[in-house]
């Protein structure tokens, strides 16, 4: 049986890991390469690196960091942030990234999804979506939640799947940073609509929240940052807890 994946997310700025509350107040939580190796050792199934400053400052993701991560890591990892064209993605692939995640660039140019899938395969293309509940609708947001778009989250994700996205990374901006649990309602609804894997993100505060999101929304993976970075949840403990709740995991 396919295991449910646990994915620590490392938000990277200037080569250092940071995690803000609701994406604003940034705090320093260490060296990404060292953290990555530690997580792999602890039993993380996969890692996501997001260059959170890349989008609005138009910075390219650091190829050298990707290479040193690939040299040290024996698990798969995804790179996101600042990928706007095929050449960006190709450089990351050649540096050892298993997948890339795109967000704003895909909203501005949906054909990018199709082009990336064609060039590198659907398994390489993760669509990251930041969603916020506004006036009774789930709306896609850009630039770390600063900018609302005209796209409804459900419609956009369906369109992205049709274009060739291989996986969805859905972050609820209403839940992110609150540590009050994942948005199981929306995640479950989206999961029912699509036939590609979905990663839940935003709101993890306790081990129960992970159990809940796998049981209620049946997502394929759950992502979190600060609860892992600050040692509030240890991955081996979390995996044991999930296993005791009959959720398939890799121990």
């Amino acid at each position: 049986m396919l295991s449910k994946r646990i994915i620590p997310c490392l938000d990277v700025k200037d080569g250092r890991t940071v995690k803000g509350v609701n994406f604003v107040d940034l705090r320093d939580a260490g060296d990404p390469v060292e953290l990555a190796a530690q997580y792999a050792q602890q039993g993380a199934d996969e890692l996501v690196f997001l260059d959170i400053t890349a989008t609005h400052e138009r910075r390219k993701t650091m190829i050298e960091m990707v290479k040193s991560v690939a040299r040290q890591l024996n698990i798969p990892f995804t790179i996101g942030g600042g990928i706007t064209e095929i050449a960006d993605a190709e450089a990351l692939l050649n540096a050892g990234a298993d997948k890339i995640s795109i967000n704003s660039a895909a909203v501005r140019n949906p054909k990018l999804i199709e082009e990336l899938a064609k060039a590198f395969g659907v398994q390489f293309v993760v669509l990251a979506v930041d969603t916020k509940y506004v006036d009774g609708k789930n709306m896609v947001h850009l630039n770390g939640g600063r900018l609302i778009t005209e796209l409804e989250t459900e419609t956009w994700i369906k369109q992205a799947e049709d274009l060739g996205a291989g996986e969805i990374l859905l972050t609820s901006m209403d839940h992110d940073g609150t540590k009050a649990g994942f948005d199981c309602g929306l995640l479950g609804k989206i999961n029912e609509m699509i036939n590609i894997p979905i990663i839940a993100s935003g709101g993890a505060g306790s081990m129960d929240h992970f159990t809940e999101v796998f049981q209620k929304a049946n997502v394929d993976a759950a992502l979190a940052a600060s609860v892992f970075h600050y040692g509030e949840i240890l991955i081996p403990d979390l995996k044991q807890e999930l296993k005791s709740n009959n959720i398939p995991v890799r121990l």
Partner: protein, 197 residues
């Protein structure tokens, strides 16, 4: 020393990084003469099987690879290439192992691609020496190799039972990515580099 067939189907940085970590020597195979330089050969591969086969053909190495008597390991699409045929691009492949590569059917109520860690049940095969039965490996693929008890050396389940690893004589193939499958995957690479026929 391992020779990696360098035919341009996918990125091999992660594979060479894994071999570096394991301190297993390797080099690139670009010509028929290069095949002689190494004791073991790996055929990597990511992407479209039909397209990968075309790229392999354009290297002119197909006949020489089929004649090899030293250990050969195909990884992911590299494994699919040693089968007879793939439904991906309706492509005729190397046909070293007479089995077929088929597409996962979403009617089986599964998500495609099969992406993530899955348990691998294996027989007593030297490639899996020291690997626990039902150890988990990392898979990313939309096409699978049909289960055939004659050539299967390890099986996994995703909607149906399929071959996670196959062998015929000196030719081995693994559907998962050993270079991304933690300690279990590294064990497979070490075992392969130690295989003697």
């Amino acid at each position: 020393m391992i020779g990696i067939v360098n035919y341009g189907a996918g990125n091999i940085f992660s594979l060479t990084a894994a071999l570096d970590r394991l301190m297993v020597g390797y080099g690139m195979v670009n010509t028929e003469n290069d095949l002689e330089k190494y004791s073991h050969i790996i055929i990597p591969g990511v992407g479209h099987a039909g397209a990968a086969m075309e790229k392999l053909k354009s290297t002119g190495l197909v006949d020489a690879i089929k004649k090899l008597t030293k250990p050969v390991l195909g990884i992911c699409v590299g494994m699919q290439l040693i089968t007879a045929h793939s439904e991906e691009g309706d492509a005729d492949l190397l046909n070293v192992v007479p089995v077929k590569t088929r597409k996962f059917d979403k009617l089986l109520n599964i998500k495609i691609p099969h992406m993530g860690w899955n348990a691998v049940a294996h027989e007593n095969n030297p490639l899996f020496l020291g690997v626990e039965d039902n150890a988990q490996f990392y898979f990313v693929h939309s096409y699978f190799i049909e289960y055939n008890p004659t050539f299967d050396i390890a099986a996994a389940s995703y909607g149906l039972k399929f071959s996670a690893a196959i062998q015929k004589d000196n030719f081995y193939g693994v559907q998962f990515h050993p270079e991304k499958s933690g300690k279990a995957g590294e064990q497979i690479l070490t075992n392969f580099s130690n295989l003697s026929l």
